[in-house]
Amino acid sequence: MHWLSKRKYKIGLLIPTLLVYSVFIVIPIIIAVGYSFTKYSGIGKARFYGLSNYIRLFSDKVFWISLKNTMIIFVLAFVLLLTISFLVALLLNNRLAGADFSKALVFSPAIIAPIIVGIIWVYILDPNIGIINNVLDAIGASSLKHKWIGGEVFSPYSIAVIYFWQQLGYLVTIFIAGLKMIPGDVLEAAQIDGASGVQKVRYVIIPMMRTTISTVSVLIITGVFKIFEIVQQTTGGGPNHLSETLVTYSYSMTFSSSDYGYGMSLATFTFILSLVITGIYSRITREKEA
């Protein structure tokens, strides 16, 4: 093995990936971060602006609203997705007739374009033409009607639910894959020792699925900070930026208000926040393992 790990092989085999990655991901990020220190409308020349864009962030109410919304979506989606997709995986991993079929259907939302996901849910959540409020009306429960999207309160929660719907099957599939990796004899041994279902999950399955759980967590964290189309299609960030998330607000500043510099400072903040949360998460889990 040793002699194969020659430097020239290593470098030769790594270079193509590093090259493409650097040119099309890293350099663009550096350029974008660079623009966050400028005033730039997208046309003509950028003007150096120092830290002004970042200072503006802190006094910008909409920034705080979009940060709050992003965190609501993050916490809700994280808790819901992690627990429920795990439970659904446990369920579907049983030998039930039709489980394969059900797995396929549950997975299906993950394969549709996010734009279309947004469009579908408008017809469900919209306060006037959406099916939920119309059904509530029809069964005489009008008092339960809310502005699920487009009001001042519920939008981020609704978006978390939509994201949950979209990602559930994807994460269930990963969990099922993880469950399949647990050797049957370990579970049998637990069975013989008289462990109950809950005990098996608590003391055998969860500890053995650490890697899976952390993969899923990282996917959820990084995914939440990229949610865009769902918000754009359901509320467009409105009313008055109240349902804006960090990504949509950054988009709106960059492209609708033509303030490329400020938009990029928002994007940089979002990117760093996502990295920090992922970092904190892996630090916590690593400490637990140790």
């Binding site: 790990s5 990655y21 350029i31 394969d100 299906s108 734009i115 279309i116 469009i119 469900i124 189309e229």
Partner: protein, 276 residues
């Protein structure tokens, strides 16, 4: 064994979950048979007849053959490039020995970091880099797609390749394999499930990708599937029926594609994302 009562409850939950997840699709299918005004004015009503106008209109407006053709073209080139290069780099990161372990971790972390990037940060700079490199039209999409797939592919491939026992390499080397033989003849065939997973996810990603496509593609003749919906939304007009119907025509092949390769996904995930 699980008791009968328990099993019934499990079935009920399974059916319930499946229905809840599938419901929005069915609703969309219903909408696709309604006229533009019925969609907005009487949202709850069911279509009275099986009205195919939206589909006719979608077929009339969109050149599906060309859209599919372009999408396949971009898909295939991107996949070939990304599979080759990420297989190489993941092989190095997973199976070669580094005297400096930190270096190995650093490169791995560096490549994984891309997972948290929203494509909108990249749009303008990537466009300019493409122009600088003289890449135009469909081809301009290839590198952005390859680059954005690197993180996910690395996550899966490195995880999987690490899980293969190192005795395999040793045995191969004793048999006189060189590095290329080892990679292509021995390891690659064992990597099939995870490659299948990567192919599936990236095909779906490219199929659905809109931000890059909308910025890089100028000529209608280069448009990929995800650009289809923009044909139904003008500055002053919008055709919801057309959007819904064309969406369904884009989703159905995806569902079929997914159905065919479904088994591989679980296998690939088992191998890649779970161990490591």
């Amino acid at each position: 064994m699980v008791s009968k009562k328990k099993k019934t409850i499990m079935y009920l939950i399974m059916i319930l979950i499946t229905l809840v997840v599938v419901f929005p699709f069915l609703w969309m299918l219903v909408l696709s048979f309604k006229s533009n005004s019925d969609i907005l004015s009487s949202p709850l009503s069911l279509p009275k007849t099986l009205n195919l106008d939206n589909y006719k209109n979608a077929l009339h407006t969109l050149d599906f053959i060309r859209l599919y053709g372009n999408t396949f073209f971009v898909c295939i080139i991107s996949l070939v490039v990304e599979l080759i290069i990420t297989f190489f780099s993941s092989f190095v990161l997973a199976r070669m020995e580094f005297r400096n372990k930190k270096m190995q971790k650093l490169i791995y972390g560096f490549l994984i970091m891309g997972l948290s990037i929203s494509p909108f940060i990249l749009l303008f700079p990537v466009y300019k880099i493409n122009v600088l490199l003289g890449l135009r039209g469909k081809i301009a999409l290839v590198f952005p797609y390859v680059a954005t797939s690197i993180s996910f592919n690395t996550l899966l491939l490195v995880g999987y390749l690490k899980s293969l026992p190192s005795e395999i390499d040793e045995a191969a080397i004793i048999d006189g394999c060189g590095i290329w033989d080892l990679m292509f003849r021995v390891i690659l065939p064992m990597t099939k499930p995870v490659i299948a997973t990567i192919v599936i996810f990236n095909v779906l990603y490219i199929w659905n990708e809109f931000p890059f496509a909308s910025v890089m593609l100028r000529d209608v003749s280069d448009y990929t599937l995800s650009m289809g919906a923009s044909f139904f939304k003008g500055t002053y007009t919008v055709d919801y029926g057309g959007i819904v119907a064309s969406s369904i025509m884009i989703i159905i092949p995806e569902l079929i594609f997914y159905g065919i390769f479904q088994k591989n996904i679980v296998e690939g995930m088992t191998a890649g994302a779970v161990k490591g």
